[in-house]
Amino acid sequence: MNNIEEILSWCEKTAFDLNFNHAKQWKNNDSKRVIVGYLPIYVPREIIHASNGIAVGIMGTGDRKQIIKGDAYYQSYICHLPRGIIELALDNNLEGFDGFLFPAICDCVRNLSGMFKLSKKGKFQRYFDYAQNFDPFIGGTFYKHEMEKVLDDIYNVNGIKATKENLNNAIKLYNINRRLIEEIYDIRQKYPWRLSAVDTYHLLRAGICITVEEHNEILHKILNVIRNERGEAMDNIRVVVSGSFCEQPPVGLIKSIEMAGCYIVDDDFMLGSRWIQGDIADNTDDPLGAITDAYLNQSTFSSCYYDVGNPKGKRLVELVKRREADGVIFSAASFCDPALLDRPEMQKECDVAGVPHINFQYHENTGQFKVIKEQAGTFSDSIKLWA
């Protein structure tokens, strides 16, 4: 698989294989391998890799599965993501997963961890609490314990203890992964036409369903192509999309934004894969300490990360400037409290900085994009006119 079109189509297929067959096949090759499913946004995948596991991101069902049972578990005013995930669990799509991690992003995901516990899905179901105190001796110690709990969970399944060497090796691999992803974003900042936002999305989303080694290889191949000119530049504006970090926008929405004349030069779609900014030290005697340190000091801004002292609105504006974007599209899932509660302040910061913005709400299975396309089109036109 060397041809870029082939790679991208494989990525799309793998990213949206709701049976996660690729990961299951990987597991089947060795009885000591485990699959650990995690929900948005972020978990330190390094520790799972170091325990002979694969961390598989469960980002919802999108528009690829009809939700029938899941709706009976959630009131209409709760976002779509957890109902899709319950549907997957009830339909046995997650059979073969050894455990599940539910990061501390919101009360829906938190309570979903309890639903998995009640229905005894997997051998462990763990709520993974993000420390909200960023002192290394306080929040750092707590965060390290959170990781140790996960390591114990996996050990109880496969009897494998993550060694220092394995942890350092995993950190190394994920450092490469983050660097390659960032390079793609850097290239897209200057030459967004070389790889569409949808293709980038598929590429990153596939990365959370396969091993990091495989993903790195794919990223290398894609980079080898897009380091050179391809595609055709259009007279589009450049936007940053913000607010889609958990329930993912339907691919049609991403497509519509680009078709409406907006190059997406940065986004938070696959935020977990880009959570840590920069490298994590990969040759220490205390790799868990290194991961903790990175969490405390190198985390990106996010709605589930207490931001007093370093407000996310300001960080968004910095990102807009760094990416030389013309504006921001706030695009959040309906009923997503974390994203929606952050929106007014982030908009205010954009106003202060003179960054134009618009906003949409969606469900992962929204099927109609006409209005969104029109809005994005008008946004693009107005920016072009003023510029």
Partner: protein, 433 residues
Amino acid sequence: MANPKDAVKEKSMIIQKEMLAKQFNDLSKARETGKKVCYTFVPGNLIELILSFDMLPVYPEINALQSGMRKKSAGYIKDAEKMGHSEDVCTYVKCDIGMMLNGNIGPTGEKLPDPDLLLLSYTGCFTFLKWFENLNRLYPNAEIAMLHTPYQEDGQITQEQIEYMIKQLKEDVIPKFEKVTGKKFDEAKLKKLLDNSVQAEDYWVKILQLAKNKPSPIDAYFAGVYYMGPINTAFRGSEECLEYYKELYKEVKERADQKLLPVTPEGEMKHERFRLVVEGPPNWTNFREFWKIFYDMGAVIVASTYTKVGGVYDLGYRQNPEKPLESLATYCMGCYTNLNLPQRVDLIEKYVKEYQADGFLINSIKSCNSFSAGQLMIMREIEQRTGVPVGFIESDLVDPRYFSYANIKNRLESYFQMLEQRKIILSQESLTV
């Protein structure tokens, strides 16, 4: 049902009224008297610590619910939406922000003082984090302290979690109190306050458990929200709070001994037809109407989860004056919304059984994911484990747009019919046995 004018104000009600009046009076004079003000949340609140520094607490959720009861919330919510808040998010936050935009006028008609300290004891609800980030921007001059309260994800409180909390208290929270008030942390004072708390907690549990009597002398939801006020908010640890619960216990015990039914806004109930356990917060905008549907049908709530947001004392937890910081830490982590779903289900099952409930009802709040996400599964589990009929209604805390009287009444009437039929079947079965 007795005539409303027959309803006499009991001594405990008068005590509570006086406590509240004094509280708001103190708040309105805080700037003159030099008292410092701490904004904080109800679940897992550190009121004993706040009182030990002689600070005055303000609870944004209480402001919101009072705005709801005073029919002000609709306007406040609209104003928050005008400033960009989505229709979809927690209405408590929007109501509070709207109230601030309108001058932060409290229930007595006087302006609430700005906070000197924002104390985010972030327990059991993720939205609190967002709410305080917003407050931080609205009050840039206030000191802000964050107490991250780990969730009881494994159904227990671990030593590591306690240590994490204690370290935060020692290294961050208490120093901020000291900075804001200019006072040194007084452990002896905190211990004394905690000692009072323990005694009040004992009375509170005894009061709630009197609802095991048949008939129940109290409504543990609609009246329960009044009864829980002092212990869950500004007064736990104070002498007045202890007095209040002593008096309340005496009154409720007398009612139980005389086999009297709960007192409602329209007087005393005369028949207990159905005993219910309720999960979820009440609606505040139409609180009276909502309650009336129940008492008109002879439905008494014998246990509720909402009254446990400030602590699940009936499972045995008590503050521990001997280890004050550990006590505060454990208290914070023990609140109802900080329990995981299996723990919540176990608790409700216990209530249904121990309080001999005829049914289990959920009032699902549109804007509160902390309570609402997972409720339908809780409902199934309770139905399976206890066999009692389960009911489900939807409303909102303070957004009147989501309170549909007709809808709720219809649903409840059908539910009560179902309970009635089950009673008939059960009594026939017991006759044939």
